[in-house]
C-alpha cells in the first residue's frame, strides 16, 4: 500500500493528517448535540492514518506509532465497559449516564458534558484501533511484508500454525507485481 511517490503528496498528506484529526476531535466533542459522535470521528481518524501510511509507508508509520492499534481498541472497550459499570458501584443501573453543566469556561462559555462523552471516546478508540489494525495488516500483506511482526504472531495465533506470508515468500516471484494498481 504505497501512494504516489511525490513530494507534494507527502507534504500535503502530513498536513492533512492534522487537519482531519482536528476535524475528528471536533466531531467527537460535539457529537451529543450536533451531527458527529465517536463512530464517525473514529472513522475519520482511521482514514487520516491510512492517508499518512500512504505517504510515509507502513513500516515507517509502525515505527512512529510504536504501539499496536489493537491495544487502542482494547483500551477503548475497557473505557466503555468501565463507564457502563461504574454506576453499579453506587447501586445505579448498568450504563446509567450522568452529566454536568459547566458555566463560564474561558473561550467556550457554558457547556454540558457528561459520561456519554466518555463512553463515546471508548467507541472512538475501538473504531480507530480496529479499522487501522485490519487495514494495516492487509496492506502489509499485499506489499509482501509480514502482516504482523513476530511478537504479534504469538499473540494472535496458535504456535503450531505457520503465518501465511512465509509461504508467499518462498514461492517463486510471480510475473506481476501484486499490489493494488495505483492511479499512476
Amino acid at each position: 500500500m504505497t501512494g504516489p511517490q511525490s513530494y507534494i503528496f507527502k507534504t500535503v498528506a502530513r498536513f492533512l493528517f492534522f487537519l482531519v484529526n482536528v476535524f475528528a476531535l471536533y466531531l467527537l466533542l460535539r457529537g451529543h448535540n450536533f451531527p458527529g459522535g465517536g463512530f464517525i470521528a473514529g472513522l475519520a481518524t482511521a482514514i487520516s492514518l491510512i492517508l499518512l501510511s500512504l505517504a510515509i509507508g507502513l513500516e515507517e508509520l509502525h515505527r512512529v506509532m510504536r504501539f499496536d492499534p489493537v491495544r487502542l481498541a482494547a483500551a477503548g472497550l475497557t473505557l466503555a465497559v468501565v463507564t457502563g459499570a461504574a454506576p453499579m458501584l453506587f447501586d445505579r443501573p448498568f450504563l446509567e449516564h450522568f452529566d454536568m453543566h459547566f458555566s463560564n469556561v474561558p473561550f467556550i462559555g457554558g457547556f454540558h458534558a457528561g459520561t456519554p462523552l466518555v463512553f463515546d471516546v471508548g467507541v472512538y478508540l475501538v473504531v480507530v484501533g480496529v479499522a487501522c489494525k485490519i487495514i494495516f495488516a492487509l496492506g502489509k500483506s499485499t506489499q509482501r511484508l509480514r502482516a504482523l511482526v513476530a511478537e504479534e504472531e504469538a499473540r494472535y495465533s496458535s504456535r503450531v500454525e505457520q503465518p501465511i506470508e512465509e509461504e508467499v515468500r518462498t514461492e517463486p516471484e510471480p510475473a506481476q507485481n501484486p499490489t493494488i494498481p495505483d492511479a499512476t
Binding site: H32, L77, P116, Y156, V160
Partner: protein, 803 residues
C-alpha cells in the same frame, strides 16, 4: 442466619474462588500446590461441621442471595440432613484424596497446579449441587461437575485412552444432564415453584396426575441414570478409569457418580408414590447391579474390577430407593457410607499397588503381603467390607438390604422376586471378586516382574486408605455409634432412621448371608481351579465399543453432509440465499394479491427533481458496475453509488447518516481493494474477468432483477403504509429531557441504546482478533490440500499425525 451465610460461603464459595488461585499458584509452587489445595477441603469440612452444629439438626434451613431476580433465579441453598451428609462425604473424602494425591503424583509430573485446581473446582461444584435449593442451580452445578470430571479424566491427555474416556464421560453425562434439565423445567412448570424446599414441603397432589409429571420424572431419572452409570449407560464409568487414581477414587466411586443417587434421594418424596417409580428403578437399577458385578468378576484390570463393582453398587443404592415405602427408607445413609469406606479405600490401595509394582493386571500380581503388610491388612478389611463379612459395615449394609427385599418380596410379587434374585447373585459374585482382589494381590507367590520392579511406596500415602478401612471396621463392630448422627441427619419424608445392631439373632437374613459367603468362596475356588480361563468380557456386553462406533458413524455422516453442501466459492452460496429470499418474500407478496397493487399507485405529482437526479445518478453508477470490465473500475463505480447515497441522505436532512456513509464508504473501498489485491489468484494473475457460461448469466440476471423487483415493491409498500407509532418519534421527543443531548442519533447510540453499542464494539474487537488469527493461518499448497497427509482441512483426518 448471618453466621450461617458466612459459614456456608466458606463451605461452597471458597473452593469455587480457590480453584483458579490454585492453578495460578501452581506454576510457582509445582509439586507443593497440593498442600495449598488441601486447605480448601479441610476448611469446607470444618465450616460444614460448624454449620451442621449451628442450625440445630434436623431442621431445614434455606440460605438465599438474589442473583437474577427478574427470572426468579436466586442463589438459594437448602441445608438439611441429606445435603449435609453428602456435603460431608464430599469434603472429607476431598481432604483424604488431596492428601493421597500429593504422594501419588510423581515428583516430575507436570501441571500439578492445574490438577489440583480441577480437583478443588470439582469439589466446589459437588458441594454446589448437593446444597442447591433451586432446580436450575442444581442443573448448573451438576453440569459443572461433569466438566470438571471431563478435565480430570483427560488430565493425561497425551494418551488416547484418556481422551476417549473423557469424551465418553462428557457426552453421556452431559446429554443426560440436559434431559434432566428439561425434566426439572417441567417440574417447575407443573408446580409453579423451582425451589426444592417448597417442592418437598408443599402440597403437590394437584399436579401429580398429569402426563407431564410422568414425563418430568422419566427425564429426571435419565439424568440420574446417566450420572450414576446405570444400565445401559454404565459403559462410561469403566472408561473413565483412565484418569489418575486419586480422581477415580474421588469422582468415579465416592462422590460424583453418587449424584444420581443424590438426585433420586432428593426428589424421593416428590416421586415415590408414582406407580412407575418402583418398577422403573427396580428393574434398571437391579439389572445394573447384577450386570456390574458379573462384569467385575470378568475383568482383569484392577481399576476395571473396581469400576464395574462401583457400577454394581450404584445400582444397589438406586434400587434401594426404588423399593422404598412411601414414608421413607431406613438405611440409605448406611449403604452410601459403607460404599464410600470400602471403595475409596480399595481404589487408593489399587493406586498404591500399581504405583509400587508398575502393574495393574491382577493375573500378573501376587505375594505382596510381606512387602506391604499394612496395606495388606487394610485391603483385607476393605475387601471383607465389600464381601459383607460380619464385623464390617458391609455386613450391616447387606443384612439391611436383604431385610428390605424380603419385605419387598411380600409387597410386590414379581419385582420383589427379581430384586431378590439380583441381590443374591450380586452378593455371591461380590464375595468372589473381593476374595480374588485380596488373595491374588497379596497372597501366593511373587511373579518375577513384580520382584524386579517393586519399590516401596511412601508410608504417608497409605494413611488415607487405612483411615477409611478403620472406619469400616469401627462402625461395623460398633454400629450403635452411627445411630446418633444418622438420627440427626434424617430428612422428613425420606428417612426413618432405625437402631443399628451387629447381632440380630438367628434370622433368615443371617442364613442367606452365610450361604452367600459360602457360595462366593466356592465361586472363587472354581475360578482359581480353572485358572480364570473363562474370563473375558464378551463382545455383546461391550457397550462402549458400540457407543464409539455410533460416534464414528455420526461423524462420517456429518462429513458426507458437509462435503455435499460445501463449496469453495461464495458465488455458489449466494444464489441459494438470494433465491430463497425471492421465493419467500416475493411469494408472500404475490399471495397477498390484489391489495398489493393498490398500495403501489404512485403519485407523480410529488416527484422532486433534485431527488430524482440523485436517484438517477445512483442507478447510473450501478449500471456502470455491470458494464465495466476491470474489477478496480467496477469497485470504484460501486463506491460512487455509495457516495451518491450520501447526497440522497443530505437531501433528507440526515447529516449524521450522510457523514457516516461517506466515511464508511471510504474505509470499505480501501479495505476491499486491499483484500482483492491480497487474494492469491488476483495477486498472481492480476485482473481477470471471469466469463461465465451463458445459462448462468441469464440465471443470475433474472435473479438480480427479481431481487430488485421484490425490494422495490417492499419499499413502496412500507412507504404507503407507515407504521402508526414509529419508535423514532419517542426518542426525538425525549432526547433533550432524558439524555440531555439534542442529537437524537447520538443519544440513541450512547444512551438509549448504549447497551447495544457496547455489544457492537465488543463484537468489533472480537472480530478483529479473529481476522488477525485468520491472517496467520497456514495455507496449504494445492498438492498438500489434495493428497497431503492431513486430508482436506477441517475434515479431522490425520489429526493424530499432526501431533
Amino acid at each position: 442466619m448471618e453466621l450461617h451465610g458466612i459459614n456456608f460461603l466458606l463451605v461452597l464459595g471458597l473452593p469455587l474462588i480457590g480453584s483458579p488461585l490454585v492453578a495460578l499458584a501452581g506454576r510457582r509452587l509445582g509439586r507443593r500446590s497440593g498442600w495449598l489445595a488441601l486447605a480448601f477441603p479441610l476448611i469446607s469440612t470444618a465450616a460444614l461441621l460448624a454449620l451442621a452444629g449451628g442450625i440445630g439438626l434436623p431442621t431445614r434451613v434455606v440460605i438465599e442471595w438474589p442473583w437474577v431476580p427478574s427470572l426468579g433465579l436466586g442463589l438459594s441453598f437448602l441445608i438439611d440432613g441429606l445435603s449435609i451428609f453428602f456435603g460431608l462425604v464430599v469434603s472429607v473424602m476431598g481432604s483424604l484424596i488431596v492428601f493421597y494425591a500429593i504422594f501419588y503424583l510423581d515428583k516430575d509430573e507436570e501441571h500439578q497446579g492445574r490438577f489440583y485446581s480441577y480437583l478443588v473446582l470439582f469439589m466446589g461444584a459437588m458441594l454446589g449441587t448437593v446444597f442447591s435449593n433451586h432446580l436450575v442451580l442444581i442443573f448448573i452445578f451438576w453440569e459443572l461437575t461433569g466438566i470438571a470430571s471431563f478435565l480430570l479424566i483427560g488430565f493425561w491427555h497425551g494418551e488416547a485412552d484418556s481422551r476417549v474416556g473423557a469424551r465418553q464421560a462428557l457426552l453421556v453425562t452431559g446429554s443426560t444432564g440436559l434431559a434432566m434439565f428439561v425434566g426439572l423445567v417441567i417440574l417447575h412448570q407443573i408446580f409453579g415453584s423451582a425451589s426444592v424446599s417448597e417442592l418437598l414441603s408443599g402440597d403437590l397432589s394437584s399436579g401429580k396426575h398429569s402426563v407431564l409429571f410422568t414425563v418430568a420424572m422419566l427425564l429426571v431419572l435419565v439424568g440420574a441414570f446417566g450420572k450414576s452409570a446405570q444400565f445401559p449407560l454404565h459403559f462410561w464409568l469403566p472408561n473413565a478409569m483412565a484418569a489418575p487414581t486419586p480422581v477415580s477414587a474421588y469422582l468415579h466411586s465416592a462422590t460424583m457418580v453418587k449424584l444420581g443417587v443424590f438426585l433420586v434421594a432428593r426428589l424421593y418424596p416428590v416421586f415415590v408414590d408414582h406407580s412407575w417409580w418402583a418398577p422403573l428403578l427396580g428393574l434398571i437399577a437391579f439389572t445394573t447391579m447384577a450386570l456390574g458385578a458379573v462384569l467385575a468378576l470378568l475383568s482383569h484390570d484392577l481399576k476395571a474390577i473396581l469400576a464395574f463393582s462401583t457400577v454394581s453398587q450404584l445400582g444397589y443404592l438406586i434400587g434401594y430407593y426404588g423399593l422404598g415405602p412411601p414414608d421413607g427408607v431406613e438405611h440409605d445413609y448406611l449403604h452410601i457410607l459403607n460404599h464410600v469406606f470400602y471403595k475409596g479405600c480399595l481404589f487408593m490401595v489399587v493406586g498404591i499397588v500399581a504405583h509400587a509394582a508398575g502393574i495393574r493386571d491382577i493375573r500378573q500380581l501376587g505375594g505382596l503381603f510381606p512387602r506391604l503388610p499394612l496395606l495388606g491388612v487394610t485391603t483385607l478389611v476393605a475387601a471383607a467390607t465389600m464381601a459383607g463379612i460380619p464385623g464390617t459395615t458391609g455386613f450391616l449394609s447387606k443384612e439391611m438390604m436383604l431385610k428390605e427385599i424380603f419385605e419387598a418380596m411380600r409387597a410386590r410379587d414379581e419385582l420383589g422376586l427379581y430384586a431378590t434374585a439380583c441381590v443374591v447373585l450380586t452378593s455371591v459374585v461380590k464375595v468372589a471378586f473381593s476374595v480374588r482382589l485380596f488373595a491374588n494381590i497379596f497372597l501366593g507367590k511373587k511373579p518375577e516382574q513384580v520382584k524386579q520392579d517393586f519399590h516401596a511406596p511412601s508410608p504417608w500415602m497409605q494413611l488415607p486408605p487405612v483411615l477409611l478401612a478403620a472406619c469400616a471396621l469401627l462402625f461395623g463392630l460398633f454400629p450403635g455409634l452411627l445411630d446418633a448422627p444418622f438420627g440427626a441427619l434424617a430428612v422428613e419424608g425420606l428417612n426413618r432412621p432405625q437402631h443399628l445392631a451387629l447381632w440380630h439373632g438367628f434370622t433368615k437374613e443371617l442364613l442367606v448371608s452365610s450361604l452367600v459367603l459360602a457360595l462366593g468362596f466356592g465361586l472363587y475356588w472354581l475360578g482359581e481351579k480353572t485358572n480364570w480361563r473363562w474370563h473375558h468380557i464378551p463382545r455383546w456386553l461391550r457397550f462402549d465399543v458400540a457407543f464409539e462406533a455410533g460416534i464414528e458413524v455420526f461423524s462420517k455422516f456429518t462429513k458426507v453432509v458437509t462435503r455435499v453442501l460445501r463449496s469453495d466459492q461464495p458465488l455458489d452460496y449466494l444464489p441459494i440465499i438470494v433465491t430463497f429470499f425471492v421465493l419467500l418474500v416475493g411469494g408472500r407478496l404475490l399471495w397477498q394479491g390484489s391489495g398489493l397493487w393498490g398500495s403501489l399507485a404512485l403519485d407523480w405529482g410529488t416527484v422532486q427533481p433534485l431527488r430524482t437526479l440523485a436517484a438517477g445518478l445512483i442507478a447510473l453508477a450501478v449500471v456502470g458496475v455491470l458494464f465495466l470490465r476491470r474489477w478496480t473500475a467496477q469497485l470504484i463505480s460501486l463506491s460512487v453509488a455509495g457516495f451518491l447515497t450520501c447526497f440522497y441522505f443530505v437531501l433528507y436532512r440526515a447529516p449524521d447518516l450522510a457523514l457516516t456513509q461517506i466515511l464508511v464508504e471510504t474505509v470499505t473501498l480501501i479495505m476491499v481493494l486491499l483484500l482483492l489485491a491480497r487474494f492469491p489468484r488476483s495477486a498472481q494473475v492480476g485482473e481477470e474477468r471471469r466469463k461465465p457460461v451463458r445459462f448462468r448469466r441469464v440465471f443470475h440476471m433474472l435473479l438480480a432483477l427479481s431481487v430488485g423487483g421484490v425490494a422495490t415493491v417492499l419499499t413502496l409498500m412500507v412507504t404507503a403504509n407507515p407504521h402508526p407509532s414509529p419508535i423514532g418519534r419517542g426518542f426525538l421527543e425525549h432526547t433533550v429531557e432524558l439524555a440531555k443531548g439534542s442529537n437524537a442519533v447520538n443519544t440513541i447510540l450512547v444512551d438509549f441504546r448504549g447497551f447495544d453499542t457496547l455489544g457492537e464494539i465488543t463484537v468489533l474487537v472480537i472480530a478483529t482478533l479473529g481476522c488477525l488469527g485468520l491472517l496467520m493461518r497456514y495455507k496449504r499448497t494445492p498438492e498438500e490440500y489434495q493428497q497431503g497427509p492431513h486430508g482436506p482441512p477441517g475434515s479431522g483426518a490425520g489429526e493424530e499425525v499432526r501431533e
